[in-house]
Point group: C2
Chain length 672, copies 2
């Protein structure tokens, strides 16, 4: 079989690994990236980038400070007008996103929120006249905007946002105001320095009545001078764990007046006299959250795949420990412990990619349902994507860190790209719905299922993902196949959902309100959500491997990855599976042996498996994960960029450290 | 009871929390920090620091770039000669370390490795004449040195270091050389720019024979000009996940000549004619590793305690979610999920502090044993500290991240101090022995125990920590008390050790060598080491709480922390405990209820518990973890330091983004 990543002059350890491939990497690449077209366009875009010197970074950006990073991103932004028509002439969305991430990587760029939040907000919340006015300018980047919702003191609970938009019928204007420190907008990406417009979510007040949070379109900087307008204080919120190229910002209003028509009026409206017209239906907002999350899950899967690529390639060239005396040091990838750290990340990347793909399919189903007037699938879709968002981001972050630590000291250097990747990706555990909150959202749905089961009534809906709750357990405790393991995981999930529900009801039975009981039963509710979400991922991965059209050789490695994934989950849930005696110790031990066997079979394909993810050097951003395996000489080269290396002796040395040493030497000599 | 941290003008939520304390915080502080003297001196040193404006940072260091951070550290370093005699007149080691970490925090400073590695190396490896020559200068900081061992291509396996020191009897010199790229020294702290001397570990070659790695004392920069000397290439290795104030460096030799007497000659020696005299005994090196690790465990415990302090204080002032309509939003600390994330970190910080304390006691035992000619305790001490180093750093890092994420978006900002803390602390999973390697070191010891058990012979040693392997299980499956839970954990640990041993022997029975079998059985060996280490921590914590001299009120909270710790471990090991039916599901469920009950009882003391760790603002380095709870206004103030906020409109704006927007506006107008 063929690994198409072999090139002359590569590190011979990597070439030897690649020659062992038992499958065609190109075939697997198409399956992972989704289509032959995607793969082709990804490569063309990367080639274009490589042929465009003006888009390159002057030095690796990790050596730049924040202002330099941001300036570099602005510089490249200004070049897009020239490049985009050449590289993505048809404006294909996927290709555009791909080009942007090739040019800017993952650390943020001035148009990020403009594209992902502002334009969609106009599309979904502006009325026709507003769209005609704002959309062409937004799409042409004639202004740059973002979306300002979160406040210093308020995140998840939108109803408590403090920024006010008070309608003044005399001038037909809204007065935007930040009444307290905690009302300051805080966190929106690109808000600090880039944006001259922004969506602002504020409490709408008209005729003395508070109608709660609504979106407004607000100019915050002069379109020509870019100075912040009177009534607006705006700036950067400072350094963060990651995404430091992004000017996440704060924003305070001091009675800023905006025209009435700058309220987004597709749904709710305020008439010139101040009469409030409520929106007709308000469930669609959930739809867009689902959409964002399904894309996020895919992005997360790819980030995990990137970390695994770096760590597995490095583990193939890193040698440590002479296992057989005189035979030289072995590749660290030959240690079972190293395989156990890394190969499950490859399997999870696949499982999460497939789960993300399936949620995008469900989202399409939801949209066609809406067209037919039904949003029936929404509650479940919301629950599943909430659970997935949480579980996937959590496991991806743990997996990136395991990959990084598996690279030893070099994993701790920014040269590996892995610290930065973790810093960026781990933000995903918090943004777009804090993970614990997300799991409890999922649990809210499960509690309804449990109530139906306990009351013996039919559920108000039907779906593939929840069918197992309503039938007698399909599990006979035989987990020798992935399907058998899924049935056992479903059995445990059902039990945990009922246990959480019973706990909730028991607390309520002591006289506490539902809401209070909910805060006191959170840990068990979270466990139920995790267990249910796990069954979803396992089911989709099994289904994918069963139905995928692939050559037998490729199917064989996918089957090994599936087994590794499933039995790794079984081991992680061993306590839940053994709890009621449904599984026995021998079953868990057998699952463990399945993992060891899968690792043994996958070992010779390890490098080819990560090659087949098909990430380019720009995406990996890693000296130790290079395709060619020439790690050490390039680490030395990379380090030369350090600003500390500009001078052999730093200009301030003699003022401080040098002087102190010489004073001490003098002191010693005078003592002699 | 009294919480001594209450001050007028504090955030009222924090004051209300503190008023609920059921114990005297001062009493708990003394127990955690070790002695009333320590507590007093810690406070005096912090006061001194606060009264010394020249030691303050001009802006929070998170807003500085690497060169600025390093310059700031050099600046403060140069002031130490003036301050140290005033603040630590008696030169007390603990106080000195405390003063250094107050001034420099945890991100490194130019004397760090000089104090922790160079001086001890001279003390332990130089002969008397060398000590007389080098020690006074080293102690006076007349030169700055570090310890260069790790190479680009070689870390854990010292025997494969490539740097050579070839003896030339003609000139009575060693010739230091880096024969390959992978021989470059890489990682040593303070090596890049600060040090003009360093210990170099190189393969000693004399009369054509290679004697393996030995330490040499090498001048790498001119003592006056600080220029790197001919034959030496030295510099900074670039940015890292953390510790970026530290100039971790690389170092290459091109046939650098040093005098014969610059080989450390307390142990091995080379005579003028090149005759090699081997060392008499070589076990002492392990002793110093044990020493470093026992201090490291304590440091880790304190870092976890710091993260918990920040997150718990913030969770007391952060309000989110109106649980009872009209009653206002609740403190997020009132959610069981939040308590479950944070309070176990407090319990673990205590457990790890106690475990670290006990290993320091064992180290003293070892030293007195050595004085009596016995190093019998060393193998076990090495095994225990290896396991602890790994388990503790791993759990501390997970705990810091849980604490950080429990702070939502603000935890992701550098203003929380938690991203930096994680970046610094997680290095500890890799340095001083990579965690996986450490667990396998521990397993090596356990396999010897298993062999003795399987062969029915008496062990070659006796100790409290391993006694349980050689008696019939003390566990009757009743885990209703911490001691009962410990017995059950011991039962599981014994089973896992025997299982790993049997797996190893089974692989060997197929004809594979012991070393190869070892690489193939790594995962089970690691599990055994983890399980054994857990019993050690649990046992010491039980013993501490049982014997501690404290008032009943203080003892009561310690007992709750112990229960929380122990049952949290039981839940984490649930699969191992249920595996052979030793525990039943009902026992696990009971352990879970013990946790919920402990959380409920500890909740009113949560803030007082973290107050009692007694970390000052400099140690916490966190806007959201401030003692006074005035979080939001100080976040706004903190952000003003961002270099991006120096100008409302950045100097380069009109060159890039501004121009692009105006071009686009023009384009739109011309289309009209």
């Amino acid at each position: 079989m063929v690994n198409s990543y072999i090139q002359p002059g590569d590190n011979p350890d990597l070439t030897a690994e690649r020659r062992q491939a038992t499958f065609d990497t190109e075939e697997l690449t198409v399956l992972f990236q989704g289509s032959a077209r995607s793969v082709k366009r990804r490569r063309e875009i990367y080639d274009y980038y490589q042929r465009s010197p003006d888009l390159q970074d002057p030095v690796p950006v990790d050596f730049l400070d924040r202002v330099e990073k941001y300036e570099n991103a602005q510089r490249k932004m200004a070049l897009l007008t020239k490049h985009v028509p050449k590289v993505v002439p048809d404006g294909n969305f996927e290709d555009l996103m791909n080009f942007f991430s090739t040019v800017f990587q993952q650390d943020g760029f001035p148009l990020g929120l403009h594209n992902s939040m502002l334009i969609p907000t106009i599309e979904n919340n502006a009325d026709d006249e507003q769209k005609r006015e704002w959309l062409p300018k937004a799409r042409a980047n004639a202004f740059i905007g973002t979306y300002a919702q979160t406040e210093l003191g308020h995140g998840t609970n939108l109803r408590k946002l403090e920024t006010t938009a008070t309608y003044d019928p005399n001038t037909e204007e809204f007065v935007l105001h930040s009444p307290t420190v905690t009302a300051s907008k805080w966190w929106p990406g690109n808000l600090g320095k880039s944006s001259n417009f922004t969506v602002v979510v504020a409490r709408l007040i008209s005729k003395g009545k508070d109608y709660g949070p609504h979106p407004f379109f607000v100019q915050i900087r002069d379109p020509v001078t870019h100075k912040s307008v009177p009534g607006v204080t705006v700036g950067d919120i400072g350094p963060k764990f990651g995404i430091n190229t992004n000017d996440n910002g704060f924003l305070r209003f001091d009675h800023l007046r905006i025209p009435r028509r700058n309220m987004f009026m597709k749904n709710a409206k305020v008439q010139p006299d101040g009469t409030y017209i409520p929106p007709v239906h308000d469930k669609l907002a959930y739809g867009s959250m689902v959409y964002v999350r399904s894309f996020m899950i895919r992005g997360m899967a790819h980030h995990l795949a990137q970390a695994a690529t770096v760590a597995i390639r490095y583990s193939a060239i890193r040698r440590q420990g002479e296992v057989t005396p005189g035979a030289g040091e072995v590749q660290v990838l030959d240690y079972q412990t190293q395989q156990y750290r890394l190969l499950p990340q490859v399997a999870r990347a696949w499982a999460f990619e497939i789960a993300g793909r399936y949620t995008r399919y469900l989202y399409q189903e939801f949209l066609s349902g809406i067209d037919k007037g039904s949003a029936a699938i929404l509650p479940e879709l919301h629950a599943v994507t909430s659970g997935l968002k949480s579980l996937v981001t959590h496991h991806v972050c743990l997996g990136i860190e395991q990959s990084r630590m598996a690279c030893g000291g070099h994993g701790y250097s920014a040269a590996s790209g892995l610290p930065q990747l973790y810093g960026i990706v781990v933000g995903g555990c918090t943004y777009e719905g804090e993970n614990m909150v997300m799991l409890l959202q999922c649990a809210r749905f499960l509690v309804k299922i449990a109530a139906a089961i306990r009351k013996g009534v039919a559920p108000g809906f039907k779906s593939e993902a929840t069918a197992y709750f309503f039938v007698n357990s399909a599990s006979n405790g035989n987990v020798s196949t992935p399907s058998g393991a899924l049935a056992a995981l479903e059995h445990a999930s059902r039990r945990l959902t009922l246990l959480a529900y019973d706990r909730l009801e028991a607390i309520k039975a002591t006289g506490k309100s539902h809401n209070i009981a909910w805060t006191e039963a959170g840990v068990d509710l979270r466990r139920a959500a995790t267990a249910h979400t796990r069954t979803f991922i396992v089911r989709q991965f099994i289904e994918f491997v069963k139905t995928v059209k692939a050559t037998p050789a490729t199917k064989a490695v996918l089957e090994d990855l599936l087994k590794l994934y499933v039995y790794y989950e079984v081991i992680e849930a061993d306590g839940d599976l053994l709890f009621d005696g449904h599984l026995k110790g021998a079953d868990i031990e057998a699952a463990r042996v399945q993992i060891y066997e899968a690792l043994r079979r996958l070992r010779p394909n390890a490098v080819s498996l990560v090659d087949a993810f098909d990430f380019n050097e720009r995406e990996l951003n890693s000296v130790i994960g290079r395709r060619d395996g020439h790690v050490y000489e390039n680490l030395l080269k990379w380090a030369q960029n350090s600003p500390l290396n500009k001078n052999d002796v730093l200009p301030f040395h003699h003022k401080y450290l040098g002087k102190a040493m010489i004073d001490a030497q003098d002191g010693l000599f005078s003592k002699l």
